[in-house]
Symmetry: C2
Subunit: 689 residues, 2 copies
C-alpha cells in the first residue's frame, strides 16, 4: 500500500491538541504524575504517597499460575532492571510472597496461540512495602511488567518505584506493526529486536509483509522456485519463521503473514511465470512503484497452486488470520490478455474489480479450507464479500466506518503510514473510532484496532529502526490508551525517554546515526554534519524517489538515510522562538540559547565546506550546508535587531525573506524544518517600531 | 589464562618506537603514501602516479578459477564500497575483462578446510585504467579485496583508488583472536560481526574458547547434560556451530575449538560430577578466578567419556587442531583425594604436574585417534611431550623460543591479552620472533604466529566489540606485516580510520558508548558524562574485580563498561601539552585548544553534580567528577601562569601537585589517564623564572 492519494487524508487531518482532562481527574498529585514516563498511558492510574526502593535485594515471587513464558518474561525484566540500575539482582524467584519486592500473580496461561481474544488486562499495586502485579493471564502480566519497567525512577536516595495503583487494559484488541520485508529484506535479528520494542509499548500484532514485486521472502518446500528464484537468496527458512513466531509468542504478540496477491506478485512469477497474466519471463523488480504483473485468476491451475502453497503457509503460521493483500492491482495485464477477457465475457464479469472479487471469493474458500480468516486491504471490499472477511483500511476512518456499518470487522492503517516521514504528532491524532464517529456501540466493536505500516522501499537493516521508532510508540498509545489522551507536548515529553529505554533492547534508531555520519566523512569529527542533520528531514510522502531516484539495490547510506523524521531540534527551536518573540519588548527569554544555536548553524554551515570537498558522497548536500549558514546568519541578525530594539531596513527584511524562501528548496530529497522559526524572527524584527 | 604473573612480562616490555625504515624505502612519494590507510601494512607497496576513479559504472570481472566463496566475497565488497560511496553499483560480474574496473584472477580454491598451509598471498596492480588483483588462491583474493577497500579515497573529484603496486603475504601463518564465550556467552551474531572484522584486518584463526568454570557452551548430543546443566541455557547448538564455521570459512578463517581441561571444568561437572576429583555436587561458577574443580585423570571412565565427547567434537569442528587448554590447574582437588594419591604412588607420578602430563599423554592419543593435532597452554610442555603438540604461550617469547628450540611449534599470546585494558601501543610491540631472537631460521619456523585473547570475565554482547576493537587491528598488523613496521604514531593515525571502517561491518565498539551513557543518565544530554569518560579508563590488569567486585550474573552496564581502553583524548592531550611546553617562552602552540579542553573538564565536572544526583548508578563516580573539575581548574591555572610568564607561588605548586596526586586514586575501578599531562603543565609553570 504505497498509494499517494492517501496522503491527502493524512495531511488534511487537523492536529487538535485537546487537553488531558481525563488523565488528571483520577490522580492525587498532578506535579508528581508529570514525572512518570508511561507510554502507552494506562487506563487508570492513581498515585499514592511513598516509594518502593529498588536495591540489590530486589526479588520476585510468583503466585498462582506460572509457566516458562512468565518465567522468561520475568528473567528479561530482571536483566533490563539490572542493566539500568547497575545492580546485581537475583534471577531466582522466591516462593515466599512475604519476602518479595514484587509479587506476580496470574490465573491462567492465556490463549495457546496468541489471539484477538487474549485478555491483556492487569492490575498493579505498588506500596512502600511491595509491588503486586495481578493479571488473569500471563500475557496481561507481561504487559504489566513493561509498565513496572517504565515506572522505575532514581534520585539521590537510589532507584525506586513510586507508590501507585494502576488498572489497565487496551482500548483496541488489534495493535499492530507491519514490516515490509519484501522490498528490502530484514534479517531475523532485526525482527526480533523490533518485536521486543513492540512488546515494550504493548503492541500485539506483527504483520509480516512477506511477498512483494521486489522479493519473495519465505521458504516454500512445496514450490521452492518461489523463494530460490524470487529473493536473491534473501528469505526466511521455515525454521527461522517458526523461531520468530515463538519469539513473538513469548512476548504475547501475534504473527500474521501477508501474501500480497493478485498484484504485487512479480517475484512469484520469476520462478512460476505460468501463474502470470502475461507470458513473461519475469525478473525481480528493482524499482519502487506499482507494477503490472498479476496472477491470472482465470486459470484453475492457479487455485490448485494457491491451495497447496497457502495450505503450507497455513500450517507454518498458527495465527487465525491470513492477509492476502489485494491492493493496487490496476488490471493492466488482465486488460491485455485476450483469454482473460474472454473468460470475463463468458462469466459476465464486467471489469477488473469484479474479476478481483471473483478471485477473492475463490481465495476465501481456500483460506477457509485451511482454517484461516481472510483479511485484505480496502480494495477487497466488493459486493457479496462474506462478512467474516476483515478489511484493512489504508483509505481512512470513513471507509472503516462504512465497512463496520455493513458488519465487517476492520483495522485502520490510514494515518499510521510511518514510511511517509511525518512527525509523531501527526500519527498521534488519527483514531480508529474518533470522537465524532457516528457508529453505534455495536458497530464500533467491528473496529478492531490499527497498524503502523513500515513499507520497505527505503529502509535497510541499518536504518529501519530509526524509521519505526520512536514514532510508533505514539501510535501504540493511540491504540491502547483512552481516546482523550491527546496532549502532544506530554506525548513528546514521554516519548524522549521511552526512546532511550528502547535502546536497551538493542534497537539502533539512535546509535546508528553517528555511525552513518562517521562513514560519510571518514572521521570522528562529525559535529558540523550532525548540526545540519539535526535541522533537516527527508522530504515527506513519496517525493524521495522523484527527487533522488534509487533502486532496491542502491545503498541506503546517504545523508538522507542518516537523517531522521521528527527533528527534536526543530521542535525545540520553534518553541524557543515562540517564547522569545512573545517576550517582547525584552526579548530575553531563550535569547542566549537561540544565539548559541544559530551561531552553531552559521559556523557548521561554513565548516562543512572542506568536509564536503573531502567526501564525495556529501556533494549532494553542498547547497544545504550553504543554506544552513544563511539560516544561522539571518536568524542571528534578526535576534540582534530584536535585542537592540532597532528596526531593520525594509531591504534587509525583503532580502532575508528571499533568502529563507530560497532555502525551502529541497536538495538531495532533504528539506529544512526550521525555516518557519527563522522567518518568525525576521518578521518580528521587521515589525519593531 | 588469566594469571596475573604474566603482567610483569607485559609491563616490563619497553616500548621501542623504531623508525619506519623499511616502509619508506620501496615507495616513490612519502607524502602520498602517508595518506594511505592500510592495516596491516602490506609486505611491499609502490605508489604510482595516477588514480582509478570509482563511479557508478564500477564493475568486476573474474578470470581463472571462480567459486561461490569468491563470488560472495566480491558481493560483500560491492556492498561495502556502495555503502561508503553512496553509489548504486552492479552486483553482476562481467566476463569481459577489458570493460572491468577491477579484474580478479585466481588459480585455485585454496584449502578445502581452512588450514595453516593456506597460501594467502596476493598481488594488486592499480593503474588509472584498471585494478587487477591476482592471487594463487581465493583466500589470497579475499585478503586482497580487503586491501582494495582500505585503499578507497575521496576528494573534490570523487572517489578513487590510487595507482599502486602491492605484493603482499603474511609474515606469520597463524594470526588469531580468542573469544572466551565460557564466562559470558556471546550470541552467534556477535561472533559473526567479529569474524567480519577479523577478515577486514586479515586475521585467520578464530579460537573459540567454549568451556569454562562459568559455562559449557556447546551442545553435545552424546552427553546433553554437559550443555543443558552447565550453561544456563546459553550454548550454541551444533547447527549454530556449523553455521559459524561456514561463515568463517567463507572469509578464509579457521575455527579452532578449545575444551579447557582438566582444570577450568566446573561447568562440566554440574551434569557429570562423576568425572570430578571431589564428590560434588557442583554448580556453575559465578565468580571470576581460578577454581579447584578438575577432572579425575586416574579414572579410566574419564578417558572413555573424553573419547566419545572429543570424537563428537572432532567431527563437528573440521579444523586440524584442537585446543585442550591445560592451564591453571593447581591440583588442589587431586592433593586431597586419597584415591588419586594412591594412584600416583602406584604409578610413580611425583606431583600434580606429572599427573597432568600423564593426563595429557592419554588425551593426546584420543585426539590423534580422531585425527586432530593437540594444542595447549604453556603448562602442557612437560618432559616426554611428543613433538607434534603445539604450545600456546601466555608466558612469553622466551618460553616460546625455548619450545621452538626443542622442536615444538608454538604461538604467542603473551603481550596480546586485550582484556588487560592496555593501549594498542603496548600490544603493538611484542613480536613472536623479536629482532634480538637467537633462534635459527629453522627454529624460527616453529613460531607459527600469535593470538589476541579476549577473556570473558567483564564483557557482554554490548561491550565486547569495544574491548576487542580497534586495538586488535594493531596486533593483526604485528602478525601480518614486516617486523620493522613499528611506528606507533603512524599506527594510531591509521587505526582511527580503520576503526570507523570496522563499523560498516556492524561492529558496535564505537556506537554503543553513547547508548550506554544515555541509559545511565536517562537522557540525551550526555555531554558532561562523555567528557569524563573520554579521560578515564578502567584500571589495568586484573584489578577491576578487587576494586569493584561483581559476579558473572552482574550487569555490565556501568560507567566502567561504557569507558574504553586507550583514550584518544588522553593521547591528544599529552601530545598538545608536550608541544605547548616545548613552545617556551611563547607558550602559544595549542594554547587555545588546551584552554578549551581544560575548561570543558572544569565545567563538565561541575555539571555532573546534579546529573549524578538524579542517576543512582552514577553515585560511584562522584569523586571522579569532582577530580575532573579539579584537573581542569589546575590545568587552566598553570596555562594562565605560562601565558602571562608569571611564576606561581611555591604554595600553589605544592597544593596543585597534591591535588593531582589525590586525583590518581581510582574510584569505581576507573582512573584518570591525563594526570601526567596536567602535572607537566604545573611543573612547567613552577619552573618559570
Amino acid at each position: 500500500m504505497t498509494v499517494k492519494c492517501l496522503l491527502l487524508a493524512i495531511v488534511m487531518i487537523s492536529i487538535s491538541c485537546s487537553e488531558l482532562i481525563g488523565r488528571t481527574q483520577s490522580i492525587s498529585a498532578v506535579t508528581s504524575i508529570d514525572r512518570l514516563i508511561l507510554m502507552p498511558m494506562p487506563a487508570s492510574i492513581k498515585l499514592q504517597s511513598g516509594r518502593l526502593p529498588i536495591t540489590s535485594s530486589f526479588n520476585v515471587a510468583t503466585k498462582g499460575y506460572v509457566d516458562d513464558r512468565l518465567r522468561t518474561g520475568l528473567g528479561r525484566m530482571i536483566r533490563r532492571l539490572a542493566g539500568r540500575t547497575v545492580l546485581t539482582l537475583t534471577y531466582d524467584h522466591t516462593a515466599d510472597e512475604s519476602a518479595a519486592t514484587l509479587v506476580v500473580q496470574c490465573e491462567r496461561p492465556g490463549e495457546a496461540i496468541p489471539s484477538i481474544n487474549e485478555d491483556e488486562s492487569y492490575h498493579l499495586e505498588i506500596s512502600d512495602k511491595q509491588a503486586r502485579l495481578t493479571a488473569p493471564t500471563v500475557v496481561g502480566a507481561l504487559r504489566g511488567i513493561e509498565t513496572v519497567l517504565q515506572l522505575v525512577q532514581g534520585d539521590r536516595d537510589g532507584h525506586y518505584l513510586p507508590a501507585v495503583s494502576i488498572q489497565d487494559q487496551p482500548r483496541f484488541r488489534w495493535r499492530g506493526l507491519l514490516i515490509d520485508v519484501g522490498r528490502h529484506f530484514e534479517p531475523v535479528e532485526v525482527l526480533k529486536r523490533n518485536l521486543d520494542a513492540m512488546a515494550a509499548v504493548k503492541l500485539n500484532v506483527f504483520h509480516w509483509h512477506l511477498t512483494e514485486d521486489q522479493g519473495f521472502r519465505v521458504e516454500s518446500k512445496k514450490f521452492p522456485k518461489l523463494h530460490s528464484m524470487g529473493s536473491d537468496g534473501l528469505y526466511y527458512t521455515q525454521d527461522q519463521i517458526r523461531d520468530v513466531i515463538a519469539y513473538a509468542r513469548e512476548r504475547g504478540i501475534r504473527v500474521m503473514p501477508e501474501f500480497d496477491i493478485p498484484g504485487h506478485s512479480t517475484s512469484w512469477l520469476v520462478g512460476h511465470p505460468e501463474l502470470g497474466s502475461a507470458p513473461g519471463p519475469y525478473t525481480i523488480e528493482r524499482r519502487p512503484g506499482i507494477f503490472e504483473p498479476a496472477l491470472d485468476p482465470t486459470r484453475e491451475d492457479l487455485y490448485k497452486f494457491l491451495d497447496t502453497f497457502l495450505g503450507e503457509m497455513a500450517a507454518l503460521f498458527p495465527d487465525a488470520y491470513m492477509h492476502i493483500g489485494g491492493d493496487e492491482n490496476e488490471g493492466k495485464q488482465w486488460d491485455r490478455n485476450s483469454d482473460i477477457q474472454a473468460f470475463m465475457k463468458k462469466k459476465g464479469i464486467k471489469d477488473h474489480h469484479a474479476l478481483q472479487a471473483y478471485f477473492n471469493q475463490r481465495l476465501l474458500k481456500i483460506l477457509q479450507k485451511h482454517g484461516k480468516k481472510m483479511i485484505g486491504w480496502d480494495e477487497i471490499l466488493q459486493p457479496d464479500l462474506p462478512k467474516d472477511v476483515v478489511i484493512h483500511s489504508w483509505r481512512g476512518t470513513k471507509a472503516l466506518a462504512e465497512a463496520a456499518k455493513k458488519g465487517y470487522d476492520g483495522i485502520l492503517s490510514n494515518g499510521y503510514y510511518i514510511d511517509l516521514i511525518f512527525p509523531a504528532s501527526q500519527h498521534y491524532v488519527p483514531d480508529p473510532v474518533p470522537a465524532d464517529s457516528d457508529l453505534t456501540a455495536e458497530e464500533a466493536k467491528h473496529v478492531l484496532g490499527g497498524e503502523a505500516t513500515m513499507w520497505g522501499e527505503w529502509v535497510s537493516p541499518e536504518t529501519i529502526d530509526s524509521r519505526i521508532w520512536p514514532r510508533t510508540a505514539a501510535i501504540a498509545e493511540r491504540l491502547w490508551s483512552r481516546r482523550d489522551i491527546t496532549d502532544i507536548n506530554d506525548m513528546y515529553r514521554r516519548l524522549a525517554i521511552i526512546s532511550i529505554q528502547l535502546e536497551e533492547l538493542g534497537l539502533t534508531h539512535k546509535k546508528n546515526q553517528d555511525m552513518m555520519l562517521r562513514r560519510l566523512v571518514s572521521s570522528d569529527n562529525i559535529a558540523p554534519l550532525k548540526t545540519l542533520v539535526s535541522v533537516i528531514e527527508p522530504v515527506k510522502e513519496y517525493h524521495r524517489y522523484e527527487m533522488r531516484p534509487q533502486t532496491m539495490l542502491s545503498p541506503l547510506t546517504g545523508v538522507i538515510d542518516a537523517t531522521t523524521p521528527d527533528s527534536d531540534t526543530a521542535r525545540r527551536f520553534s518553541s524557543m522562538v515562540r517564547d522569545f518573540v512573545a517576550d517582547a519588548p525584552r526579548y530575553q527569554l531563550y535569547r542566549a540559547e537561540l544565539i548559541q544555536m544559530l551561531t552553531d548553524w552559521q559556523t557548521s554551515g561554513t565548516e562543512l565546506d572542506p568536509v564536503i570537498d573531502r567526501s564525495p558522497a556529501l556533494k549532494e548536500i553542498k547547497p544545504l550546508a550553504q543554506n544552513l549558514a544563511t539560516l544561522g546568519e539571518t536568524g542571528l541578525e534578526a535576534v540582534t535587531y530584536l535585542k537592540l530594539g532597532t528596526p531593520p531596513s525594509k531591504e534587509w527584511r525583503d532580502a532575508s525573506l528571499a533568502k529563507l524562501e530560497q532555502a525551502t528548496k529541497p536538495y538531495a530529497a532533504l528539506e529544512f524544518v526550521v525555516i518557519s522559526g527563522v522567518k518568525q524572527l525576521v518578521i518580528a524584527a521587521s515589525e519593531l517600531k
